[in-house]
Symmetry: C2
Subunit: 637 residues, 2 copies
């Protein structure tokens, strides 16, 4: 620095070891082009030391080689210019690593990166967030039950585990060019940046895991006047805003009505996030804030606006009604069957569906939590690959079939999570949906493959021989059996009167499976789905070479041989709905429903165990303990 | 709500007890006009219950009366319309409470409120921050060694201790009208507020404790491109910005020079805050960040720009040089004797004082920490009461005398912390300075008072009789004795040759004390001074009635009798300078200096013990422990 700025710095003594490493680092030459590829410091230090120690000794090359064999990729550092066969193979292997670009650092991406074997992939991650957030605890952050920092883990801590070989850049992907196998990115840091903000990355495989953004349904005023609850920053803003509402309400020279409006919290959307936030807010107000603002205790009101007939309508109806009863007891107002038409700084304007009446609801603060939609970069990519129009059609069908989720326009993938038409592009998590192949589309091929003796009819043996592959390839068949309470797959072959048949022809086969596809449902946009997809995909990546020669998937009905991998299959482990006051509801596997205080403790233990690191686990448990002892903090920061 | 908005809320059952309290609350009538004065909830509930229980029983009034006697101010709630003498006296006492308005929630204000006996004061606090922040730990917050929330305590928790009788409003004071005894305030909440934002408050006593704001010395670009380190939010912003710099620096397609500039952290100001931040930043970078960003380890640089010849120049020179050596060893560059002329998004433009050379210093981030200046509301008040011009004069004198602090234009108070010329307005903390009365101004009066026999000369006995009052009233005399190493005050009476004199005339007396006033120094703008002033002032408020009849202060030299209170006297308990790497320096009372690792542990224990609540104490200690185990978090939130 001294030379550079010509400034009389009074002290500037970089220690000897730094200089030595710098010098050593300058000698590093990699045979392939790779940004920023330097060795982790502790390794560099060690090699630098060894290098100095053996300087001038011709026999040192052997010693370094021995070291490199145990050290894996570090062989490139050897200064002995060894050209042994081992060395070359190693370098070639490194150079031949496939480039994997991962977009996003959410559940899907983190779960993918966690288990990925990076010995055969050169992994680059791009995301505007340099951390992973444990999103199911976001509602707790809104009221300070848990601190924001307790639920985030720097993505580089995952990178670090892999000896720094996963590279991460804090940037937003602005464009995907699947034809040229390139993504274009721009740094999302707003502060002044010295140098270029934009860069592009080549890939061999692309994993899109950018998640989704809040869906405002283009409702006027939502972006301007509503809080969202999607990112950690949103939760922090809500927290400050709740306190602000109380500070506003107790200002002198306000009428009681004005105080009441300032303390009217409106939540639009009665899904799990909205409901959990309402519950958290209720606890925060009545457990903590009323102690500090006793004068406005009776002026606080919380309203949940839901367009459907019930809150938590994706849950079991027992949970839904338990939640409604609990909210009624707590004094949380629930307006069902109401659609929000616009939001202003003063009112939420809604329409009561049943009467068609328009009602302005004055508010102190609004939280908008009505679902998610595709991010611009993904939308752009969909248009580019012609999925936008295609998807609308298949979504329309899917909407007809499933009666829900019809409006989500997301990237369609096959059952192996590959974006349709692009073998090298994967999409996981909230940005994607699996477009499950329908049985009726393949019915002729299935019949043909099963009819081994080409008799034109299928007998029970032939059918049973094929059924495992059918069940794997078309999970809707299994769902159909369950929903029809059929104990055996051969029951499908019974005639319309219910009598067993020995053989069935193509028309009968079509008829027997005709209702199967109606079981198709899109997977919900949850952390659970995303995490399972990430883990599934990393397993596929890890077994890619193996499965090329030993495919593990089901038989191909359209084509020859077997699929390389088993298709992705979601396993639902249940879901929780914390309802405040140390009460929670849970939908557990096997149609079990559990509600009450013990369920809250189950919630605590599950959420503590699911944390991504010991650091966040300790912090979250400490936060819960702190809340029990000291309550939640109400400082307006 | 149902009636109000005409909405089909499906559940709306406020519990019986709420309604009952609301009804009861409506009957509350206070005989004096007071904003928002309602009873704390638990008390209302109890009374509401009692009220119901005895409804219709005429004898209930007695029962309630008994209760009210033990319950203090609660008597107003009685529905029995009791007009007993006791009751009236109580109400009168309440109505006669003097209104105290306190501006600010910093060290001075919190310390004043903590010990104030509110039984005879009606206290209202106004501040744009609804919390007290333990500011000495702010540098630790910048790097996540301690979390922001761990060093803040809601001011209402202090309010709560006093049974809610201190009212707090989150608002900014915009104008002080000392003539009408009124302050004008405006809510500082930016979110949409239903109702009036402005309000005014009458006072009998006003305590100004608004602190100070960062002094940019009108340097161009500072406000736009520099970080400050004054508020909790500043520290949070710095933390995010440091991470951003690292994320910027590792972006692909940057040259090494660009990376180097992005990682150049510049700190303007080598005072305690700047130095501590530089040390914290160094630890953060080399203990935590280089593990996650190993590729840019050798590109990081930290520079401290100081206009004086040394950093920490208000400390003992041993500490100053220890800090400089430590920084040199750590590779932190210190540029002394440099003045910053302007800051742009790319450069800090400075002038080397010795050579007059202008040097642009490219930076990734700048922290500006060069001292404080008066807030606009205080400046406005000073102009209003004519202190602006007066102060400049006395500051000029003071600057001449003390050779430092000359440029701080702050509210001048007398030794009892009253704003000069206003008996009812007090100013404490960073917004004020004590304008210590000079001995030479009063020399004739002192001589006259001491010369009991009106002989025109002062003998040793007369002098000794008066010396205690002189030492209390003019602490500079004591300082003079210490600096001249005089063991006894009678040494002052010696003649210029050092021979003892029995008597001294007015001219000799003047000569003897002529150098005394040069000892005058303004108190530094530290938490320690503010806290002591707050505690002192609350003691004066608590003893106001008692001291009217039994004054405890020194004799009045100008006038009759004694001063009511002892003048404020600052006691310096020493100061710390944490220098990073578990090393700290400390200036302890009695010219002791301690440096090194043990001092850091002393720092830990002192700072833990000085926390305002058990909550923050536990949190801060937990944060330190967490840092030892898991390191600092580098998530960009």
């Amino acid at each position: 620095m001294r030379e550079k700025y010509g400034v009389p710095f009074i002290h500037n003594y970089p220690s000897i070891s730094h200089r030595c490493i710098q010098k050593a680092g300058a000698k590093l030459k990699f045979p392939f082009n790779c940004h920023n590829r330097t060795l982790p410091f502790h390794q560099m230090k060690l090699f630098s030391y060894l290098n100095k120690a053996f300087n001038g000794f011709p026999s040192s090359s052997k010693l370094l080689l021995v070291f490199s064999l145990s050290g894996g990729g570090l062989v490139a550092y050897s200064e002995s210019q060894s050209t042994s066969a081992t060395n070359n193979t190693e370098l070639e292997r490194l150079a031949n690593k496939k480039k994997v670009v991962v977009l996003g650092t959410g559940w899907a991406s983190a779960s993918f990166l966690k288990d990925l074997d990076i010995s055969s992939y050169d992994v680059r991650v791009v995301s505007p967030r340099n951390y992973f957030a444990f999103t199911p605890l976001l509602p707790s952050v809104t009221c300070g039950t848990v601190e924001a920092r307790s639920i985030v883990e720097p993505i580089r801590n995952i990178v670090k585990k892999k000896n720094g070989e996963i590279q991460f850049w804090e940037a937003e992907c602005t464009k995907i060019d699947a034809a040229k196998k390139k993504v274009f990115c721009r740094s999302s840091i707003e502060a002044n940046l010295v140098g270029k903000k934009e860069f592009s990355l080549d890939y061999d495989y692309l994993v899109i895991a950018t998640g989704a953004e809040v869906n405002t349904f283009n409702t006027p005023g939502v972006v301007e006047y509503c809080h969202f609850l999607k990112e950690v920053e949103d939760a922090q803003k809500i927290r400050a805003s709740v306190i602000d509402c109380f500070e506003k309400a107790i200002l002198p020279e306000l009428t009681e009505e004005e105080r009441r409006i300032n303390l009217h919290f409106v939540i639009v959307g009665g899904g799990p996030t909205g409901v959990e936030f309402a519950a958290e807010l209720h606890d925060f107000v009545y457990e903590d804030l009323v102690k500090l603002y006793p004068m406005v205790r009776d002026l606080v009101s919380i309203t949940v606006i839901q367009s459907g007939d019930h809150i938590l309508n994706t849950y079991d109806s027992r949970i839904s009604s338990f939640a409604e009863t609990k909210f009624a007891r707590d004094g949380i107002d629930v307006c069902t069957g109401c659609r929000v038409l616009s939001v202003t700084d003063k009112n939420v304007n809604m329409k009561i569906k049943s009467t068609g009446e328009y009602v302005p609801v004055p508010h102190g603060m609004v939280v908008w939590s009505t679902g998610v939609t595709t991010r611009p970069v993904v939308k752009d990519f969909m248009e580019q690959i012609g999925q936008e129009s295609m998807l609308l059609t298949c979504m329309a069908i899917s909407a007809l079939l499933s009666g829900m989720q019809g409006k989500r326009r997301v990237l369609a993938t096959d059952e192996w999570l590959r974006v349709k038409g692009y073998e090298d592009v994967y999409a996981i998590g909230d940005c994607a949906t699996i477009d499950q192949r329908k049985v009726m589309e393949d019915i002729a091929a299935i019949f043909k493959a099963a009819d081994k003796n080409n008799s034109g009819t299928l007998n029970v043996e032939e059918f049973q021989d094929m059924i495992d592959d059918i069940l794997i390839r078309y999970p809707q068949v299994d769902l159909h059996l369950q929903s029809e309470h059929l104990s055996s797959v051969t029951d499908l072959l019974k005639d319309p009167e219910g009598n067993a048949r020995k053989e069935i022809d193509i028309e009968g086969f079509k008829l027997a499976l005709s209702h199967v596809d109606s079981q198709l449902k899109s997977l919900p946009a949850t952390a659970q789905v995303a995490a399972q997809q990430g883990a599934y995909l990393s397993r596929c990546f890890n077994r890619r070479e193996l499965c090329k020669t030993q495919p593990e998937g089901p038989r191909r009905f359209q084509g020859q041989g077997r699929h390389e991998f088993m298709p992705f299959r979601y396993k639902h482990f249940g879901q929780f709905a914390p309802l405040g006051g140390e009460q929670a509801a849970a939908e557990l596997p096997g149609d079990w429903v559990s509600v009450g205080r013990s369920t809250q403790w189950l919630w605590y233990s599950v959420y503590a165990s699911k944390q991504v690191s010991w650091r966040t686990r300790v912090l979250v448990v400490f936060d819960w303990t702190r809340r029990f002892i000291f309550g939640r903090d109400s400082s307006g920061i």
